[in-house]
């Protein structure tokens, strides 16, 4: 049995000591074997790993930036989408680490532990408890209910009934645990989460499809038998087996942290034997397109808002309505909006039959007029209930109520009333000069300008222009879907006491209703809307607030907090200086650091790809360049034209590799005067060669070489006694581009070699290379610049190389360095001018 890897302070060691030694020997032997038998194959293998690494680097950085964008712009998306992106990032980094480990299994093995560590922290930041399924599944409204079990609406109603003896209807709550049980028994949760993961910032296209799938699954779900029996028993105990039922949503968060007004559906007049289907319909409404959008825009996850359902007897309403315990524009007044019969038409923003107002300071009811269907006594009682509710909750309330045929009042819902944050006196309220295009009634405060857009289909928000002032017939809750794309809404009908009104106030979008002339406004017409005054004016008179900048989005939401925590292990870049001593695996403190480390280490591995012995027997082609330089080229992918395939030599015109072309644009430029009588190859090695005779032009033993693909070049340049290694990538992706260059050797005494290094350093620094030198070795890099800048600097480097070769013994004195450097810089600039 193989020994188990042991653990240390660095975590589970990926390899035991024995495995490390075996792996190292295997790696070395494999390298030696391939280098000897199939050298081209080894290079291609390493090159393929490097390619994977480059692609992975780009994908990982893109994913990191998408996650950062969601946070910074507070983009509306589902948390499952964020988890999905983090999952993809994890896989990309896994691949990156594997690709790097393919270069050297022992050296980079520890990177796996660091990846595992930070990927785990990201998962932990985004993880949520699965839905609870244990009893209780059914509770009576006569007991005190918690929001966690019974949802916001039921918890509020039970508290009003049990603690304050307010008139709430009798009933039961099917708890959030029952919902969890239904999901678990039907194994729906993973499928739902997979669908929700599709709701990224560009969710508009897919939200109807996602919604349909999830709602269908819930409707088709089998009701757990135990749950069905338990609810049926509870209905019997509460005397609800021979009366029509009303089923209402009561999600966690609803009416408390956020209004969720009108987002979920209720079912009224349900025959008692049909309660199961009605229950599933209310549950499914949690996933309607507008409810999904609203939850995401408020920054809640699906699991944070589990659904409980209230079952009550349907009370036949004589009159139904909404009570605002404060009027937005006249805080000393409360207002009642009402309709005969049930209140759906009022709540759905279709109509309002009558209104009544109450002076809260003097406890006085204003004359409600002839059309009011309720007697003054009932109106006064309703307003007093409103005052009690405001006292209980310590804030203005939005109360749903109904009056039955015995004139008894029933409170069916109370939630915080959203008031405009801006005091009315700070705004312009009088427009004597302006042309008034339409007048209506306040629904939500604010002053904006924009262009008229008549809404055709709320399910197609992409068709709405960015600065739309939306004109619509009524104010249904489905409008929530388009809220993020509009500056204001004008409705021809409707009422301030509808569900959509609450949502618009929450989002800070100005809305007016009952504006009959709105239909006459023309698409594209510039208008200004004052929500408080209920007027639509011609032209643009208010500062336009952009609609997509997140100005009206909540700043601190549970999902943003989760994402921020996860990004703490994803984004920070601690590995700043690749040349620094702390640029190590152990210094990685985020996934971004790991991506950076892998990239740099991969580039370094490619930099030392072949070694000083060169492309001996690699099957490379001899380059005919017109420059007296013996050079062989190995194409790994599309670096040469297709006709070069069968030839033993290749001409410069057949080079397709962009960095190679750029390098030779410099080497072959007019700034470098080559002496055609001096052939450049490794003179030193040739002199020491034991071979009796070697045709240096055909042999790869002493020649320069280049490994090329379309965007990549790895070259060892042997100019007599000089050696330069060049590794460069020139691609359309700026973040990937780089030039790494090292130069060593040359003729002359140590002092002369030092002067030469100084000279190259001066010129390269001038062209914005980062340069470091030690003794007679120079290393330079030029990273993450545009393809044009990278290409140009490769050409400049070509000139510098050519000039340096020709200088050779001429540098005798430090004083010569500066003027010579200046003269070379000028010559380089003549060929490759500095832009701007």
């Amino acid at each position: 049995m193989p020994a188990k890897p042991r653990e240390s302070a660095a975590g589970q060691l990926p390899l035991t000591r024995g495995q490390q030694i075996r792996s190292h020997i295997k790696h070395t032997l494999e390298n030696w074997f391939f280098q000897t038998a199939f050298p081209g194959l080894l290079i291609r293998k390493k090159y393929a790993a490097f390619q994977r690494l480059r692609q992975g680097d780009r994908s990982a950085l893109e994913l990191i930036s998408r996650l950062e964008e969601i946070k910074q712009k507070r983009l509306v998306c589902d948390c499952e989408h964020i988890k999905h992106l983090c999952g993809l990032l994890d896989l990309e980094i896994q691949d990156l680490v594997d690709s790097l480990i393919a270069f050297n299994p022992v050296k980079y093995a520890l990177l796996r532990n660091y990846h595992r560590k930070y990927a785990f922290y990201v998962n932990l930041a985004l993880t949520e408890d699965p839905p609870a399924t244990a009893p209780p599944h059914v509770l009576s409204l006569t007991s005190e209910l918690s929001e966690e079990l019974a949802g916001g609406k039921a918890a509020t109603l039970s508290m009003l009934g049990t603690e304050h003896s307010l008139p709430i209807p009798p009933g039961i709550a099917i708890t959030t645990r029952a919902f969890g049980l239904l999901l678990e028994k039907n194994r729906l949760l993973p499928a739902i989460q997979q669908e929700l993961a599709r709701l990224g910032p560009d969710h508009h296209e897919v939200i109807p499809e996602v919604s349909r799938s999830i709602r269908d699954w819930i409707m088709q779900a089998e009701m757990p038998k135990t749950l069905e029996t338990e609810v049926s028993e509870a209905l019997k105990q509460h005397g609800m087996t021979d009366t029509a039922l009303a089923l209402r949503s009561s999600a966690v968060g609803e009416d408390l942290q956020a209004s969720f007004a009108g987002q979920f559906e209720s079912r009224l007049n349900v025959p008692p034997e049909n309660w199961v289907d009605a229950y599933k319909e209310v549950l499914a409404s949690k996933y309607s397109p507008h409810a999904l959008y609203y939850r995401m825009s408020q920054g809640f996850t699906d699991l944070m808002t589990p659904m409980a359902v209230l079952i009550m007897p349907t009370i036949e309403a004589e009159v139904s309505g909404i009570l605002y315990t404060r009027d937005q524009n006249r805080p000393e007044q409360a207002a009642l909006y009402m309709v005969s019969g049930s209140g759906e038409k009022l709540a759905d923003g279709e109509t309002c039959q009558a209104t009544a107002e109450f002076d809260t300071r003097h406890d006085r009811l204003y004359d409600p007029g002839q059309s009011c269907p309720l007697p003054r006594q009932t109106l006064a009682e309703l307003f007093r209930f409103g005052q009690t509710l405001e006292y209980i909750f310590g804030a203005p309330q939005d109360v749903e109520w109904l009056v039955d045929k015995h004139h008894r009042i029933h409170i069916v819902q109370s939630r915080p009333l959203r008031m405009s944050a801006e005091p009315p006196e700070s705004k312009e309220t009088d427009y004597p000069e302006a042309e008034v295009l339409a007048r209506g009634q306040w629904v939500s405060s604010g002053q904006v300008s924009g262009r008229v857009h008549h809404l055709k289909d709320p399910s197609l928000p992409a068709q709405i222009p960015a600065d739309a002032v939306l004109v619509t017939g009524e104010l249904p809750p489905e409008l929530t879907l388009v809220l993020s794309r509009v500056r204001a809404v004008i409705a021809e009908k409707g009422s301030p006491a509808c569900h959509f009104a609450s949502v618009a106030r929450e989002a800070g979008i100005p809305v007016i209703c009952n504006a009959p002339d709105a239909g006459k406004l023309e698409d594209g017409q510039s208008v200004s809307l004052d929500g408080d005054q209920g007027v639509v004016l011609s032209g643009r008179r208010f500062a336009s607030k952009p609609t997509e900048d997140g100005a009206h989005k909540p700043k601190d939401t549970p999902v943003l907090r989760m994402l921020s925590k996860a990004l703490g292990y994803i984004s920070p870049l601690n590995l700043q200086d690749p040349g620094g001593a702390d640029f190590s695996i152990q210094a990685c403190k985020s996934l971004h650091d790991i991506v950076r480390y892998v990239h740099e280490a991969g580039v370094r591995e490619m930099f030392s790809l072949v070694g000083r012995r060169g492309l001996d027997s690699y099957g490379a082609k001899r380059l005919i360049s017109g420059i007296p330089l013996v050079m062989h080229v190995l194409d790994v992918h599309k670096g040469l034209t297709t006709d070069a395939g069968s030839m033993k030599t290749v001409h410069l015109e057949q080079i397709k590799s962009r960095p190679m072309q750029q390098l030779f644009a410099g080497l072959g430029s007019s700034a470098v005067q080559w002496d055609q009588d001096i052939l450049h190859y490794d003179w030193d090695a040739y002199a020491k060669s034991s071979a009796d005779f070697v045709n240096v032009e055909k042999s790869t033993l002493f020649s320069s070489y280049a490994i090329v693909d379309k965007e990549y070049l790895h070259a060892l340049l042997r100019f007599g006694y000089h050696f330069a290694v060049l590794d460069a990538l020139v691609s359309p992706q700026t973040g990937q581009n780089y030039i790494h260059f090292s130069f060593k050797g040359g003729g002359g005494n140590p002092e002369q070699r030092f002067f030469r290094i100084e000279l190259i350093r001066s010129v390269l620094v001038h062209f914005r290379f980062s340069v470091s030198t030690t003794a007679d070795m120079l290393e330079a890099s030029f990273d993450r610049r545009s393809p044009a800048d990278t290409g140009t600097n490769l050409g400049r480097l070509g000139i510098v190389l050519g000039k340096t070769v020709l200088l050779d013994m001429r540098l005798q004195d430090q004083k010569q360095v500066e003027p010579l450097a200046e003269s070379i810089i000028q010559e380089v600039r003549d060929v490759f001018p500095v832009q701007g």
Binding site: S8, A9, N113, F120, Y121, L124
Partner: protein, 123 residues
């Protein structure tokens, strides 16, 4: 000065934690055997117990339960080289305050210990 106890069957991990935390002025006792650590927790004042999840004879979560029984006020920081969401959740359910994943990072360890102690003093 806080009393910190470390239980990790890997000697170098315990030694490293001791070195880091003693430089911060804490008093640190290191154990590699479960029963010795539990005995110590019963007899001595311990502010924080740092427990590895994978031990020789018992699981770290089992030790966590027993430590919480011996001293409900002892704050526990779980340590692991092979993290899973299940064990993290289980450890949190049984009262672990923090979760530290190997490779051990000096700053991260210091910061987690500091935050546990701060929460403790403000509670």
């Amino acid at each position: 000065m806080s009393q910190i106890m470390v239980l990790d069957d890997v000697e170098d991990a315990g030694a490293m934690i001791k070195r880091i935390l003693e430089r911060k002025g804490h008093s640190v006792a290191v154990f590699t055997e479960e029963h010795q650590a539990l005995e110590y927790a019963k007899q001595q004042r311990v502010d924080i117990a740092i427990l590895d999840i994978k031990l020789k004879k018992m699981s770290g979560v089992e030790v966590l339960k027993q430590i919480k029984k011996a001293g409900p006020d002892i704050e526990v920081l779980m340590l692991t080289g092979y993290p899973t969401l299940e064990t993290a959740r289980e450890a949190t359910d049984f009262g672990a305050r923090e979760y530290l994943v190997k490779p051990i990072d000096k700053n991260e360890l210091e910061q987690k210990v500091h935050s546990i102690l701060e929460n403790r003093s403000s509670a």
